[in-house]
């Protein structure tokens, strides 16, 4: 297999710099700046706790992303399974010793940083499955053994995260995994069958949900049933977005946000604030920025010669897309409220860390796109 490696295994530093996807990089920088601006607004037009911390995280994680970018993607291939198991171990550790907050136990205190391993699992699952399908023969993709194994790989972290409990992240991990299955070519009928099975077993799943999760679904179906309680968030979120109108209320002028009507405005509902202040124009602009990022990642995937890179890029691109869709659908009242951050925009270190690692790997895939990786 070394035969392929020589093609461009070791690029010089200058070559690497030339190979960077600058459009993607600029988009990421732009998004980071927007996120800082919005964070500044959530602090009421002041550089306070959230703005400072978000800025610090970006300052640390942006170079990290670049370091990863210059790091050959083949190493990610090599250590993908190790990475996966490491995160699994962290998840197990967290379920015993993790920090508790608002009824769930999903964090570990690293003293300089509070890590949420489930966020990293979003990347780990893509890496692992990308490696798995990179190595497996195409004839075996639809074999029972393979599918069973892959389902175990997906379900293991999903169940660990669900038990934290953290429905939102676990769903996103599962979806990220399933996307790889889809891209890898698992037969469509399996997806159709499991979808039908899923619909049939929905009542049973619901019966296993925690009361607060059931409430969220009920509230989603009819937010006005309890406008000051469970429905409050979604009603206020819709008011904020709707009142933004075409042009928005203007930077730092989002009344819903600075008068504290918006819940969780730093994290899951960050888009609400953005949309209130920048309106339809701003929202669509942000969506376009995200779309460019996703298209660039897909493009990198498409130009990559190695299937590992390809699968990772496609998987990561679609995962980001799903994160965005889930988050926006939630704040727009199209989906029940599940905790799901908006990539880069939302305040939260672990999510940002995972996203930045992901971007780093994608950039690395671009730099090394001519390289093949031995299965």
């Amino acid at each position: 297999m070394f035969y392929y490696k020589r093609l461009n295994s070791d690029l010089s530093f200058i070559q690497k710099i030339k190979e960077i996807d600058y459009v993607l990089l600029i988009c990421i920088i732009l998004l980071s700046l927007i996120s800082l601006m919005v964070m500044y607004s959530t602090d009421g037009g002041d550089i306070l706790f959230h703005t400072k911390n978000h800025f610090m995280k970006l300052i640390v994680l942006f170079p990290l992303m670049l370091v990863i970018a210059f790091f050959n993607i083949k190493h990610w291939h090599t250590f993908a399974y190790v990475f996966y198991f490491l995160i699994i171990l962290l998840l197990v550790w967290v379920s015993y010793f993790g920090l508790k907050a608002s009824g769930s136990q999903r964090w570990m205190n690293l003293y300089f940083f509070v890590l949420q391993p489930s966020e990293l699992m979003k990347i780990a699952i893509i890496l692992t499955l990308a490696k798995y399908y990179h190595r497996i023969k195409i004839e075996n993709v639809n074999s029972l053994a393979s599918i069973t194994l892959v389902l175990v790989i997906i379900l293991l972290p999903t169940i660990l995260v669900i038990s934290q409990p953290d429905l939102g992240t676990s769903v996103l991990i599962a979806v990220s995994g399933l996307i790889i299955l889809w891209i890898a070519g698992v037969k469509i009928k399996y997806f159709v069958y499991s979808f039908i099975f899923g619909i049939i077993s929905l009542p049973f799943i619901i019966s296993f949900l925690k009361p607060y999760q059931k409430l969220r679904i009920l509230t989603f179906l009819d937010p006005d049933r309890d406008p000051l309680g469970a429905g409050y968030q979604i009603i206020q979120s819709k008011i904020a977005i709707g009142s933004g109108g075409f042009n928005g209320k203007g930077f730092l002028k989002g009344t819903q946000s600075y008068l504290d009507f918006l819940p969780e405005k730093h994290t899951d509902f960050i888009f609400t604030l953005f949309s209130e202040e920048f309106g339809f124009i701003g929202s669509v602009g942000l969506l376009i920025l995200y779309t460019i990022i996703i298209i660039r990642i897909i493009r990198i995937g498409a130009m990559s010669r190695s299937n590992f890179s390809k699968l990772f890029c496609f998987g990561f691109a679609f995962s980001i897309f799903i994160y965005i869709v889930v988050n926006l659908s939630m704040v727009l009242g199209l989906l029940p409220i599940v905790g799901s951050p908006l990539p880069i925009m939302s305040y939260g270190g672990s999510s940002l860390l995972a996203t930045m690692i992901g971007f780093g790997i994608v950039l690395s895939a671009k730099i090394n796109h001519r390289q093949l990786i031995a299965g």
Partner: protein, 634 residues
């Protein structure tokens, strides 16, 4: 090579699957943009409203009531700046400490402190508590000096009702005070504009014209956060002061009336005989309406309520009195009009008349001898009026009395507590007492005793209508637009009577003239009952009729004793009455005076008329000069 082929094949699968995902993505994205569009563009208005509803809260301030002014534009019910002390609990660091400080600073009672603590627990922490509604200037200064030590205390300047003439107008104006639940619910406008601290009319014109006087709320719009805390003021929408009311009353005459009736129970009414403008209506004793503004204390209230002179009764319109001899002009007029007698008809007064074994006394024990109509009026001979009443009959007398407004409300719609009084006739007695009329009752009705009950304002109106030549006038208390001049008023009065004959109260103008002359002699000729109170200067000269109304039947023994006023218990003393009009040549004003338990009309009531006419006629010039009338729609 095989592996490579496989690899290529694999990547084909990847690309194909990714393409399908890509299409799905486009649709999903389109869905999200559509949703954004529908929320932000289509439903923008709805959500903008909701967002404003979220963040903007309105605070209504109490409306400022319209002024009530007298005929000359002097404010008799106005508004005054008052200094209040508010506490905003959420800003207070140590509530107990603050209360202790305030207690010593303002001498608050323990009860008051308890009340504040109670209020604090009742309201939201950002709602201000009114600690004191009416601080004196020195208290206000003190609070301001120690403000650094009183965190959370807010000295506030606000507007409150004020009655500058204190008790002079109380019965007319009434007063304002905090409304109770029922009053708020009953009046839609009050309900709409109600805010704590607002006051509404509880009595009198303040109550009657509540909706006219109330004014609109000023509105402060604040931006509030999700917890309801005020962040900043967005707008101050100034409300408009309530509408003005202008009265026909003259403060100077009103004040003189108050002075004359000081420490007495009674009433004075003065009326323009052509326009019906009421110049004064004062009921004594009165009380200070300012006491009610900030809640009257129990002690003060008890003092008013238990006063034996009954300050709470508006005697001018709710006090019912036997008219006594003041009815005699009507009795005489009725007899002349019905052609029962002619002016030369004479009766011999021996001091008493016997009828069916019952004795009817004249006030003068020795009798007046032969008296004509004029002399009978002048000396108020009872025997003469027993006789003509007997000849006339109560039913015919009743018709004349009714024409002149006795037994009917004078102002009607303005005061809820106005009484209509009573002038009896035979069918009234049959219907209400179930017994037949007795001739003896006709006799005592003829001297204004018996069943007859009149209000002081009715007597004033009656006198005014005699003075103006016998035309019905409509008494009024409000000035709605520019008043008529004397000529216009006279002409319109006569003109109106041509069209509606019931406005003309006589058949033969000579009869009215005879009565007027008789009243003149009663005041201005020797032996007249009010001769001592006359004014010789024709400018002020007036004509009147005294009256003394018994509150209790005089026993034979008492009659023989001939007690002095001071010797009779207050409750049993006669009411003193006087009705008059002036100036005698070209008359303009009529008045009625009643002094409860004042003794005789000539001694207690008539002298007041002398002082009143001097003032009233002096002020007539000013009254005519008065301009700047605006149209007021009520």
């Amino acid at each position: 090579m095989i592996k490579q082929n496989l690899g290529i094949r694999k990547s084909d699968v990847f690309n194909r699957r990714m393409f399908i995902l890509g299409i799905a993505k486009v649709f999903i994205l389109a869905g999200i943009v559509t949703r954004l569009f529908s929320l932000q563009i289509n439903e923008n208005k709805k959500y903008l409203t909701l967002s404003d509803k979220n963040r903007i809260r309105e605070w209504k301030l109490p409306p400022i009531r319209g002024n009530i002014v007298d005929y000359f534009g002097n404010i008799i019910a106005g508004n005054l700046k008052v200094y209040q002390l508010h506490i905003i609990p959420e800003q207070v660091e140590n509530f107990n400490y603050l209360l202790v400080r305030l207690k010593t600073l303002l001498n608050l009672s323990d009860k008051k402190i308890q009340k504040i603590t109670k209020l604090k627990n009742k309201f939201k922490p950002w709602d201000s508590i009114i600690v004191s509604e009416n601080l004196t200037w020195s208290q206000f200064l003190k609070v301001n000096n120690y403000l650094y030590d009183l965190v959370g205390v807010k000295p506030v300047m606000t507007i409150s009702r004020n009655y500058p003439f204190n008790d002079v107008y109380t019965h007319v104006l009434g007063y304002v005070s905090q409304p109770n639940q029922e009053e708020i619910i009953k009046n839609k406008i009050v309900q709409e504009r109600f805010v704590p601290g607002m006051k509404i009319g509880k009595l009198g014109l303040e109550k009657k014209f509540e909706n006219h006087l109330i004014g609109t709320n000023s509105i402060q719009r604040y931006e509030v956060n999700a917890y309801g805390k005020r962040i900043n003021q967005l707008e101050f929408q100034k409300g408009s002061q309530g509408n003005k009311i202008r009265l026909t009353l003259d403060t100077e005459v009103q004040k003189l009336s108050a002075k004359l009736l000081l420490n007495k129970a009674g009433s004075i009414s003065v009326m323009d005989i052509y326009t019906g403008d009421i110049i004064a209506m004062y009921s004594s004793p009165s009380y200070d309406p300012n006491l009610f503004l900030f809640g009257i204390s129990q002690d003060e209230w008890e003092l008013i309520r238990n006063n034996p002179l009954k300050p709470l009764i508006h005697k001018t319109i709710s006090g019912l009195y036997s008219p006594g001899s003041t009815i005699k002009p009507i009795v005489a007029l009725s007899a002349l009009e019905n052609k029962i007698i002619n002016p030369n008809f004479k009766v011999k007064c021996t001091g008493k008349t016997e009828l069916y074994g019952q004795t009817f006394h004249c006030w003068k024990e020795k009798g007046h001898g032969f008296v004509s109509l004029k002399n009978a009026m002048k000396q108020s001979c009872d025997t003469y009026f027993y006789e003509i009443a007997r000849l006339l009959g109560v039913d015919r007398l009743n018709i004349t009395a009714k024409k002149f407004g006795l037994g009917e409300k004078v102002l009607g719609k303005y005061f809820d507590n106005e009484k209509q009084g009573l002038f009896p006739n035979t069918s009234w007695k049959k219907n209400n007492l179930g017994r037949g009329w007795v001739l003896g009752e006709t006799l005592i009705t003829g001297i204004g005793q018996g069943y007859t009950q009149t209000t002081p304002l009715q007597l004033c109106l009656m006198t005014a209508q005699i003075a103006n030549g016998g035309y019905k006038i409509k008494p009024k208390i409000l000035v709605n637009n520019k008043p008529l001049s004397l000529e216009q008023a006279k002409n319109s009065m006569k003109f109106d009577s041509l069209h509606s004959p019931n406005l003309k109260l006589f058949d033969d103008p000579k009869n009215i003239k005879i009565i007027q002359e008789a009243m003149f002699s009663s005041t201005n000729e020797i032996y007249g009952t009010s001769y001592k109170s006359r004014i010789d200067d024709p400018k002020y000269q007036f004509a009147g009729k005294t009256g003394t109304s018994q509150v209790k039947r005089i026993s034979k023994r008492e009659r023989e004793l001939d007690l002095k006023l001071e010797q009779i218990p207050y409750k049993d003393r006669d009411h003193a009455l006087y009705v008059a009009y002036g100036p005698y040549i070209n008359p303009r004003y009529a008045l009625s005076i009643i002094v409860e338990h004042g003794g005789s009309g000539s001694k207690a009531a008539a002298p007041m008329a002398k002082e009143l006419f001097k003032l009233i006629i002096d002020r007539d010039k000013l009254r005519k000069k008065q301009s700047n009338f605006e149209d007021i729609n009520i």
